[in-house]
């Protein structure tokens, strides 16, 4: 465990490269399945579900990094956060594009109706919209421009995005809530850890 506490830049660069390749694997797998006609009877549904699933997975992984740093003292993991957050956004965009192009085939009238009328789509779409400013301000120069405090404030939008994303999943399944509830429990744990940190900090400031 102690070995993982401090890593040199070269090691981190390697870890980043490996994670980058791994993070593309779900897309690669979908591509292979599509090419070999292995997406089942309803390929569009499968692509929609897979891209949505990986959006949530990457959101949760991203939210795990701060607790890991705080609890285990591995400060370097924070250097993976931007890339993993951008992967969440990447899969979120693929998910929406699948809906827009493959599922609805640019039926704008219906897409707008869905977004306004169907709460699970309203929530999911908003969660994705909220990720856009985060992706735009993810560069080093944008962090400098905004200043650490404002940047951190803006990026706490990720919590709302994650809650929205999980709510979207819970809301759309017909009956079996096993998978969405698993995501919901994990997200609750991750958010509770932050609340505990925050309460501790408040108490420390008072005394």
């Amino acid at each position: 465990m102690m070995l993982l506490k401090n890593l040199n830049n070269q090691t981190i660069a390697w870890i980043k490269a490996v994670i980058f390749v791994l993070a593309l694997f779900p897309l690669f797998k979908l591509g292979i399945a599509a090419y070999s006609d292995n997406l089942g009877a309803n390929p569009i549904e499968k692509i929609t579900h897979r891209t949505g699933y990986w959006t949530l997975v990457f959101l949760l992984i991203t939210l795990t990094l701060t607790p890991i740093r705080r609890l285990l003292g591995w400060s370097w993991v924070i250097r993976l956060r931007r890339m993993l957050g951008l992967f969440a956004f990447f899969y979120g965009c693929l998910h929406f594009l699948t809906y827009m192009v493959l599922d609805q085939f640019f039926d704008w009238e219906n897409i707008i109706k869905d977004i306004v009328k169907r709460p699970y789509i309203t929530v999911g779409f908003s969660a994705l919209l909220l990720m856009i400013p985060l992706a735009i301000t993810s560069t080093d120069s944008m962090i400098r421009k905004l200043g650490g405090k404002r940047w951190r404030w803006l990026h706490s939008l990720i919590y709302i995005s994650a809650i929205g994303g999980v709510a979207h999943f819970c809301w759309l399944v017909k009956k079996d809530l096993t998978n969405p509830i698993t995501f919901a429990i994990l997200l609750t744990v991750l958010l509770c850890i932050r609340i505990i940190f925050w309460l501790k900090k408040l108490r420390a400031e008072k005394s």
Binding site: A41, N42, I44, F105, R118, W171, L172, K175, D176
Partner: protein, 310 residues
């Protein structure tokens, strides 16, 4: 050159026609069987249904490939994902099998599956299938009108509804180990719906006995209703006076009603029912009123408010 002289063949040596023909048939069967033995289990295990006549209830639309009909199923008794039933329904034993027909009838009876197969001439009907999840298929089912069975048990005047009960055995149906729905699965019809000629007591699919994942050995199919109404692997049919509460009504009373007629104008509370994706097609189709069977079944619901009786 010697003239050709046919050899003498005693009549005792000549194989009678029916015998050599039956030998040929045997060889063909043996050849077919050994070929079939080389194929993966699911392919050759299917039992062909013989003497199936064509039915007038046939929609002139392209059939959904057998592979899709048998690999993309909602059958929560075997898991809640679409591909699970095809993978895990092998644990269901469909022989011996009986259906108990009881309740408000003069002649209650327990039918074996063999008796059912002989109860009435089998016909192939090509029906549209519309799932409540907004996808659809075109499926060649084999069976006969449920009314044929109903006539045999002579319902009393008190029989206002029919209830279908699916097998409840978590050992054979592993999905029943979790309480996603209230088991056993229950579905129901109003008496006039059950007697309607379109309501098919279904024993086969694509020329063969029903595959387990499609509701073997016996199910019902009502093509003008959402798929979940069509109870699978039925063990009991009960005639009752009061409207039964179905599994899906219990699971979501504001989302699933007793009638569940396909209706593009009445949305599911969470999604639209105006369009559907036909499996195998890219662009969505407009959903038809009563799934295109309005001419046949609309009179059953005249005067009813279909937004309330959904």
């Amino acid at each position: 050159m010697k003239p050709y002289k046919p050899p003498f063949i005693p009549s005792s040596e000549i194989t009678p026609r029916d015998l050599f023909e039956s030998r040929r048939k045997f060889m063909q069967l043996a050849g077919g069987a050994s070929l079939a033995a080389l194929l993966p289990h699911g392919v050759w295990a299917a039992e062909k249904l013989m003497d199936v006549k064509k039915s007038i209830y046939t929609v002139p639309e392209e059939l959904t490939p057998q592979k899709d009909v048998t690999s993309y199923n909602n059958f929560y008794e075997f898991g809640t994902s679409k591909d699970q039933p095809a993978m895990s329904a092998g644990s269901l034993k469909t022989r011996p099998w009986t259906i108990t027909v009881e309740g408000e009838v003069k002649k209650p009876k327990v039918f074996t599956i063999e008796e059912l197969l002989k109860l009435s001439p089998l016909e192939e009907r090509i029906y549209r299938l519309r799932c409540v999840e907004a996808w659809s298929m075109v499926v060649p089912w084999i069976g006969f009108s449920l009314s044929e069975l109903i006539k045999q048990v002579e319902p009393t005047g008190n029989a206002k509804f029919v209830e279908f009960v699916t097998l409840h055995d978590p050992e054979q149906m592993p999905g029943q180990k979790t309480a996603v729905l209230e088991w056993p699965y229950r579905e129901g019809l109003r008496m006039d719906e059950a007697m309607h000629p379109l309501t098919l007591l279904t024993l086969g699919l694509y020329g063969e006995v029903l595959p387990n994942q499609n509701g073997a050995p016996v199910r019902v199919v009502m093509p003008w209703k959402y798929g979940f109404k069509s109870a699978k692997s039925i063990v009991s049919i009960r005639f009752v006076e009061k409207q039964p509460t179905t599994s899906w009504m219990k699971a979501g009373p504001n989302e699933y009603g007793f009638y569940a007629n396909v209706n593009p104008e009445v949305d599911h509370p969470r999604w639209t029912q105006a369009k559907e994706r036909r499996i195998g097609e890219f662009l969505k189709r407009k959903t038809l009123m009563f799934n295109g069977y309005a001419d046949e079944v609309a009179p059953l619901y005249s005067g009813m408010d279909l937004t309330k009786s959904f």
